[in-house]
Symmetry: C4
Subunit: 216 residues, 4 copies
């Protein structure tokens, strides 16, 4: 069979160890995001109350990046749900995405400390867009190489995932130039993704349920 | 069967990878808690002895948070003992609880550096109450969705777990306003949980043993 | 059978997840040890060469703690080799040992920065002795509860492991008062463990081989 | 059979837990590399733009070390692909390699902050050469002990892996003295590895495919 010939040609190892490395990087990046949230030592009561107020933007930036990283983790988790083998291309793409995830604490700190500077908002948007672009490529690669998995991803689900990630990349990439016009505008523009992802999320859930019911 | 129809409707992936991410975050949070315990460089012998004394509150705060985080880890470990599949709600709740666990080094440092300030004690109490509330929700969700697991959680065990977590949430939530009356009082109030958890722990152990004996 | 009744009475969960948490803490502690090795920014060529010399004690302390932590990891790895279930006592002891492992970067930094101060050497010795004491207790507990494992640990192997850990605890505990007499003497005293562990290591290897040959 | 007798003599435990520890250290080292990328707080717009420019060498050093660490991870991943058991020598070598991986953030920071100082380039080169030498030893040990794995590594593949790692060690070891002649020259010299690894990579892929086709 064609698939078998191709599997012989391509697979390099099993997915679990790559995903273990991946879970490790995601877990550490999520935890390091919070490392920045600190209050100076030795303040008096009033100074402490003031410092707590100062720390709030960092808490918001932490919450935002946590949502972003958790969303990417969940996307990757769904993507590799029925993947058993990985080849060189998949390994390279996963490692590249991990390199970007590990970088996230940097733009998060920028955003927390310079929420009104165009460059900070642009760098944050660019970092998320880059993560999205790598994950999008990964999704397409996995979709087009069904021999890596135990069961091929139905085209309707794959197309919905690609649309979801494509929208993420477009919105955050467009936010890069937008940030130089208006940093606040760019941050509001991010919110466009809330309804978009709500729709693709609902559709994805419905499609996955249908596929499972079909198989059962 | 009803359960099967529901399983088709709900499950999104297998539990192990979610728990691997979770173990990673718990492990890192436990280790980062200790990162704060430092002594300045270049002191003389007397200064060093003094600095060691200064570091003791941080060691105590570390020990306290270690116990808290370890207790939450163990609760989650028991909760997912016979869970095989996870759905979107469970994934979101676990990710939320991980975000709170990753935050713990912050209130721990506050408590170590400002043990007598009401806000520090209130924030610490609030953080633990929030973790407890998320874990409580998670426990109820898992209990009410038996199709996620290999064997349904007996109602008596589930009710005991809910009582245990509910008591944790109540005690720490009540400590938030209490801290503004008396920070030391709020910290002593935490100790109420020691006998409460002792009782629920004993009962839980007895119930689990009975359930296992019944199954065997 | 007696063992079965007891298993029903005692086990709380499976070992793998506890060991995954454990591996996470060991991995992070090992990596954080090295975080301290830094050179200030913005030095000229001569200042940089000088700073590199200053950093050497930190590199040695890192190497020492790495060997210590790696030895404890390997001991725990061997101990849990054929353990399948864990009960509340084992979980508590493992979590306690993880709390001590996570603390190790602190005494390591003390030793690197104050290699000649009695307190620093005493704290380092005490930390290692404490880790050893917990692991020793864990070894005895696992040995006395054969129903937790797939095959009982032969008494000869268990006794050798206990001797090995007992020697570690004794040497490092004796180094605590010794450090106040002579910090350098206490550090030389640690070296007593090299021949001791060499002998117990050889014996342990021989006993494990014999046990395997017997089983095969 | 000879292999079986030897297996009885040598194996100490199963590979997965050692690899879990290893994945943890790799994941943390990869993430901590990025921790250094920061911009000071409280700058004005011009100062921020300047600080972003200053941060770029750190981003490049991060990217370089990420590629290096990811390449070592992938090499180890391939090496342990069909390894099931590990003995004392393998465990010691893996732990030693993890100690070197955990150190990588240090030479990375040196290279980012002192890109033109001979010592910084020499230390970075030496660290990579040391990692390569340990991995080379590990590859030879695994190759010569086929009883550790599920299927012996074909000699042609093993020889190609050894050539690949040998070239890495030679190039980085030679860069150590070269750095004292010309730091920039040493960094350009590293690029020699790009075509070398391209060739060994292609050959390794072809050999692995042939071995798989043969087995299928």
């Amino acid at each position: 069979m064609v698939n078998d010939v191709r599997r012989v040609r391509d697979d390099e190892g099993s997915a679990p160890r790559l995903l273990a490395l991946s879970d490790g990087v995601f877990a550490i990046a999520m935890t390091l995001l919070a490392l920045d949230i600190t209050v100076p030592d030795g303040l008096d009561s009033a100074g402490f109350a003031h410092a707590l107020g100062e720390v709030m933007p960092k808490v918001w930036a932490y919450a935002l990046s946590l949502v972003v990283i958790a969303a990417f983790w969940r996307g990757q988790y769904q993507l590799f749900h029925s993947v058993r083998d990985v080849d060189g291309t998949v390994i390279r793409l996963v490692l590249l995405s991990l390199g970007l995830v590990a970088l996230m604490p940097f733009p998060t700190t920028l955003l927390a400390e310079y929420p009104d500077l165009p460059q900070a908002v642009a760098i944050y948007s660019g970092a998320v867009a880059a993560m999205g672009a790598v994950q999008l490529t990964l999704a397409v690669v996995v979709w087009k190489r069904p021999w890596l998995g135990t069961s091929p991803l139905p085209d309707a689900i794959a197309r919905n995932d690609v649309a979801d990630l494509g929208a993420t990349v477009l919105v955050f990439a467009a936010a890069v130039p937008l940030a130089f016009v208006s940093p606040t505008g760019a941050k509001l523009w991010w919110l466009v993704l809330v309804p978009v992802r709500f729709v693709t999320g609902k559709r994805g859930k419905r499609l996955r349920e249908a596929a499972q019911r079909f198989r059962a």
